[in-house]
Amino acid sequence: MEKWQDPQVIAFWIAIIIFFIVTLLFFVVKILHAGYKRMTEANLRETRILLDHQKKLLETNLYAQEKERMRIAGDLHDSLIGKLVVVKMKSQIGASAADMDTMLEESITEARRISHDLTPPLLEYSRIDELIEDILAPWRDKFAINYKKDVTNSQDFPSEAKIQVIRVVQELIVNINKHAQAKAVSVHLRYSDRYFTLTVKDNGKGFDTSLLKKGLGLSNMELRMQYLNASHKVKSVPGKGTTTIIATIINPPL
């Protein structure tokens, strides 16, 4: 009789197959368990990082609010209150009506500047491209500004989104002025039915992006990006200027 015809041999083969399947199942369960454990740990780690990040952004936001309040208080104290005190003193010593008129006019202009600084005038009635133009206008003396707009979407941004975009542009321009030593700034706005992109490029000294520190300005910008559901990228090479790109999809609309 050949070996394979022996029932004992066949039973042994079946036992080996069962043992093999059990071993396979044991490893599959072990691997699945380990994988599940790792996945849970990774998710937990990710959530923790996200929470830390949100906390940091919130702290930055509060700090930025405090800083802004201090700046407004400083503006009011140093310029407007100072001017009004002078008006009061001049009125007490009997200054001429023309003098008083001039000083009051200066005070009103100062109050208007502070007010405009807080919220751009006609925010609701101006389109986003016009508002950006207004932001850039005072800087034209300092830089050669090339502003290109490509707006094909007839629907305007909501005011809450507009103010965020304006603040980002302001922050970028202030940063260029402070750090870049640039001579020319190019701003390109594209606003179509599907996308909104804003590119701000300067020809300044640039920097190594790997050494980029997340200061108040950048953290604030990130917070605004989150509000707009937008993403941003800063590209820079030492000696070759800096480019900041902001992009968001207009679906669902802002």
Binding site: W13, F20, L24, F27, I31, A34, R38
Partner: protein, 220 residues
Amino acid sequence: MDFIEIYELLNLLSPLILIIGLICGFYFYKSLDIIHKSITIYFLVMLLVDITGRIFEYRYGNNLIILLVYSLIELIMFIYFYYQFMFKAKHRLIIISSLLAIGYIVWEIFKFKSDAKEFQTYSKIADNFIIVLLTLTFFFEKINIFKESKWSNFKLNAVILAFFSINMLFFLPYNFIINATIGFWFWLGILVSTTLFYSYLTHCIWKNGRTHKLLPSGSR
């Protein structure tokens, strides 16, 4: 061409693919990474075993002993391969199981009798079972040192796992394969799975060699 002639031709398929793999391996040898260099060496050893098996069959009319030697060589090569290039940890239980399997195969070699009717080897089962354990341990190890970066050798390990699991089941009824006429279909199954496995390894060698050859030095 009758059935026997087709069978004879099919039998040449696996050494043919081994030779193609070896040509690829030696052509790209300097550009290959250590894992693919090892696969090339494995191909060379397998080809030598294949040729020896054919010589034995031609001279003695029986090459059953070669299957045991082949199992031993293959097992030692895979244990070395996994412990040298794939594993990070020691896995004591796997070492003990491997030594037991090697001991068992050596014991089978010593008590070998060339009667085909009586011949039922479990050496190939032990060999394949340990290799399957090695692949599963590799998966387990990789899952446990999980990093969110590239997981290299995943596909290679999965193919080794699939091939040796199938091979183990095919080789289990060995006495049935060599004695019963219907056992031919089992041989055919072994032939197809081996051919596919060697083809995949050849493709890996070719791909690895070609990619590394195109890369500038220092970027490997």
